[in-house]
Structure formats: C-alpha cells, structure tokens
C-alpha cells in the first residue's frame, strides 16, 4: 500500500514559486490499477516522480506499507527505486544496447550478470511477446514493440509497483489497446500495482479500477473509476469529460470524412 500524506512540491521561492503539488493525499492499495488524470501541467508527472523520489516532495510524507520513504538517501534510496518499475512516454530505451541488454540493465546495476540475468530477461521478453527480437536494437523496433521492451525492463527486478508515465501517449489506438491489455495482464497475473499517469480518459476507463483527478497540483476528485466518470462531482472532471466527448466527435467526423 502506498500512502501520500500532505505532499507538496514547490519549485523556486517567494514570488516566483511554482506549486506543482499542493497538499496531495492519496492511498493506493496493493493490486490497484490507479489512474492519475489531468491536463498537461496539472502536476501528474511531478506526482508520479515523487513516488520513486526522482523528485523529492518539499513537504509531506510518502509511505510504502507504512514506512516513510521521503527521507531515504544513498543505498536505501537506490534499493527503493530498484523495487519500483517505471515506464515512460518515449520508452527511454538505451539505443546502443540490444533489446536483451536493455532488459538486463536493472539486473546489471545490482551486479547480476551472465547466464542467470540472461535467462531472467528472456523470460520477461517471452512474457511481452518479443523473445525473437532479443538481439535487435531499439531503433529497429516499432513504438509498440519498444514499449513492450520497456515494460520487460521495468519488471526485471520483480517490482511490486510499476509507474506508467503517459505510457501509451506516443502510440496509435490499436497499439495502445494492446499495451493496455499487457499492463492489465501484468497487474492480474503478477499482482503488480500499477500507477497510471494519463491525460486520456479512455485509457483510464479501460484499465484503472480507481482514479484521481489532478488540477493545478490539487487532487480535485478521487474514487472508483465508474463512480468518478459516471457521476463527476468536480467541474474539472466534467470539463475533462466534455473535452473528451468533443474529441471523440471530431474523430468520428474525421473518419466519416475519410470514408466519404
């Protein structure tokens, strides 16, 4: 279980201070697929980076199973990070390493090399359906394949939690669906808790059991996905839903235009 208690993140000081997060309180349960939704600049990337201390909260506490991690440094911090997987919008694969050696990277950091690491990486590539591409380089793969490699890499250390930062935003609709399916399988079969950052409501609806809506660094609404989207309480959520309807209508029109 991950708890955020009164988490604030402020950049700069005085008049120029930018409040990226304001008094964020959240509880993410084991096995959740927890969505954090908001527009660009709402603070969702900062929030997710606080969870593995890529960003350090200015105030407040983050608890993993009741243990405050906000003050961790040195070896303990690296240890925590190795237990929290992360995937990114632009995949962030190492271009000069093969697919296999991208997946063994987190193992290498802990001194695990050779046949054992290779075997573990091949299992993961099997899981994401790319075992036959192990010796290729990332630039030879499609976006969807690259994100699968990134997912395999994030799972290398058997994390209990995986952070997904706009993981499907650079992908087309069909590829997005297949990546979401894979994430869902990982959540259900391996029991990995997923924290999903997205600006896309369809993505959140498809895989999240709970969502929080963030706006200007504040959580404005939180709850079960169906409840939040079925009966939105906050104007921000209503606006997101309205914009989403509008976008869907534009897409439908565009498709009609192409057909006609």
């Amino acid at each position: 279980m991950i708890q955020l208690q009164h988490v604030c993140k402020t950049y700069g000081e005085g008049e120029n201070a930018h409040h990226a997060l304001r008094n964020v309180n959240l509880t993410i349960n084991d096995g959740d697929v927890f969505g954090i939704i908001g527009a660009s600049g709402a603070g969702k990337s900062t929030l997710v980076r606080c969870l593995n201390l890529l960003e350090r909260p200015t105030e407040g506490a983050i608890l993993y199973d009741g243990r405050d991690i906000t003050g961790l440094s040195g070896r303990a911090l690296l240890e925590l990070r190795s237990q929290v997987g992360m995937i990114f919008q632009n995949f962030s694969l190492f271009q000069q390493r093969t697919v296999l050696r991208n997946v063994t990277f987190p193992l290498e950091l802990r001194g695990e090399k050779g046949e054992a690491a290779r075997k573990r990486a091949m299992e993961l590539l099997e899981l994401v359906g790319l075992a036959d591409l192990a010796e290729r380089y990332p630039s030879q793969l499609s976006g969807g394949q690259q994100q699968r490699v990134a997912i395999a890499r994030a799972l290398a250390n058997n994390p209990k939690v995986m952070l997904c930062d706009e993981a499907t935003s650079a992908l087309d609709t069909r590829t997005t669906a297949s990546i979401l399916q894979l994430l869902q399988d990982i959540n259900r079969e391996l029991g990995v808790t997923l924290v999903v950052i997205t600006h896309s409501l369809p993505v959140a609806c498809k895989i999240c059991n709970r969502v929080a809506v963030i706006d200007h660094g504040r959580i404005v609404e939180e709850g079960a996905t169906a409840a939040v989207f079925g009966n939105p309480q906050s104007p921000v959520t209503r606006e997101l839903l309205a914009n989403d309807d509008m976008l869907a209508a534009i897409e439908r029109d565009a498709e009609k235009g192409q057909e006609g």
Binding site: L78, F94, Q95, Q96, F105, L109, S139
Partner: protein
C-alpha cells in the same frame, strides 16, 4: 618519372621518419589527453547546475581552467611551459619534448569535446537509469559514455586532426615531423617540391584520420539511420 624516383631516393627516408614522428606525436598526445580529458568532461557535465551532482564552485573553477587553457595560443603554450616539459620528460626537444605541450594543450579541448558529447545524451535515458536505482558512477559509465560513444569517436577524430596541425608548430621548435621538414627544407632552403610534398602528405594523412574516425563511429553506432 625520373624526377619522382629521384625525389623519393633523396627525401624518402626523411619523409618516412617525419611521418613516423608526426604520427607518434599526434596519437600519443591524443591518448594522454583523453586519459585526463574524459574525466574532466564527465566532471564538467555532472557538476553542472542541472547535472547529476551539482557542485557550483567546482564547476566554475573547472570551467575557468578549461577556458584559460583554450585561450593560450599553442605556439605560446609550447615555449611557456618548457620548464614543465623538462621536468616531465627531461627534455624540451624532439618527439618527447613535443608530446608534453601537445597533451597539455589538448586536455581542455578534449574536456569540452567530451562535455558536449555527454550533454547530447537524452535526459530521459538518465532518468530511466535513475528510476532503476543506478548510482552516479553507473549512469556515467553505462549510460552517458556508452550512449554517446559514436559522438565521442567523432570528437576524437576532430581532436586528432587538430593535434596533427599543432605538431607542425612543435616542429618549428625542434620536435621533428612533417611540419619540421616543410619549414627547414621547404621554407628555409627554398625547396618548393619538398614544400608541396609536405602539404600533399598532410592532406592525405588528415583524410585517413577522418575516414578512420567516420568508419569507427559508424561501427559503434547501433542506431538505424532511417532516410
């Protein structure tokens, strides 16, 4: 043809020795400059304001040293550090006497070159490595240096060619090499053909350095170029 074979029998041995001297000076000073220049470039990057280990004072001081080093014209550096050169290799003459000032001149140059290559590495890759619990040393070795290797190699060929040019100046103070031949025979004895042969040899050698650099950079780069 007689002319060419005469020229070769007269000056062949001289040019062979000159080429060897030039190559030794160029490559040895490049090697030594990288031994110090790579750590220097890494330090410049990681101690920068948005680097992995921001150290404002250290970064500023290193920046000054590099800028001072780069602002002294080589011909002046060459004579100015003669006492230091004598201290290190026992002489300020010949190939060993040239390698010391060439290395000293190249270190800040290489430092900036390496800094620039490392700065080009996608910040997202550094962040990804951090998210898996990589420490600074691991990020430098396994991510920054590895991912920028093609760029580092291209930088090395620029360094080699720059130092190759510097060796001609070292030649002027008695270091030997092709530059020395061009000055002593071509210029001071008015031997036009020796001058032209020296220039042609320089052009050929620079082409060879550049081609080798390009080839190696291509071989180590695993990104597919999509045209």
């Amino acid at each position: 043809m007689d002319y060419i074979s005469n020229f070769i029998s007269q000056y062949g041995a001289l040019f062979a020795q000159g080429t060897v001297d030039t190559l030794v000076m160029t490559l040895a000073s490049t090697l030594f400059a990288y031994l110090i220049g790579v750590p220097l470039g890494v330090l410049l990057v990681i101690t920068a304001k948005d680097g992995l280990k921001p150290q404002r004072a250290l970064n500023t001081v290193l920046g000054w040293i590099v800028n001072i080093g780069r602002s002294i014209p080589f011909i002046i550096l060459l004579v100015a550090i003669i006492p230091f050169t004598r201290l290190v290799v026992g002489t300020s003459l010949g190939v060993p006497g040239a390698i010391v000032p060439l290395t000293v001149a190249a270190i800040p140059f290489v430092g900036r070159m390496v800094e620039q290559s490392l700065a080009e590495v996608d910040g997202g890759l550094v962040e990804a490595a951090q998210s898996f619990g990589a420490n600074t040393w691991q990020i430098v070795c396994k991510v920054m240096l590895r991912e920028s290797l093609p760029s580092l190699v291209r930088g090395a060929s620029i360094t080699v060619i720059t130092l190759f040019g510097y060796t001609a100046m070292a030649g002027a103070v008695g270091a030997g090499g092709i530059g020395d031949i061009a000055i002593r025979y071509g210029y001071q004895r008015y031997l036009g053909d020796v001058m032209i042969a020296s220039i042609v040899l320089c052009i050929v050698l620079v082409q060879v350095f550049q081609s080798i650099g390009d080839l190696v950079a291509r071989l180590v780069d695993k990104r597919v170029r999509r045209s």
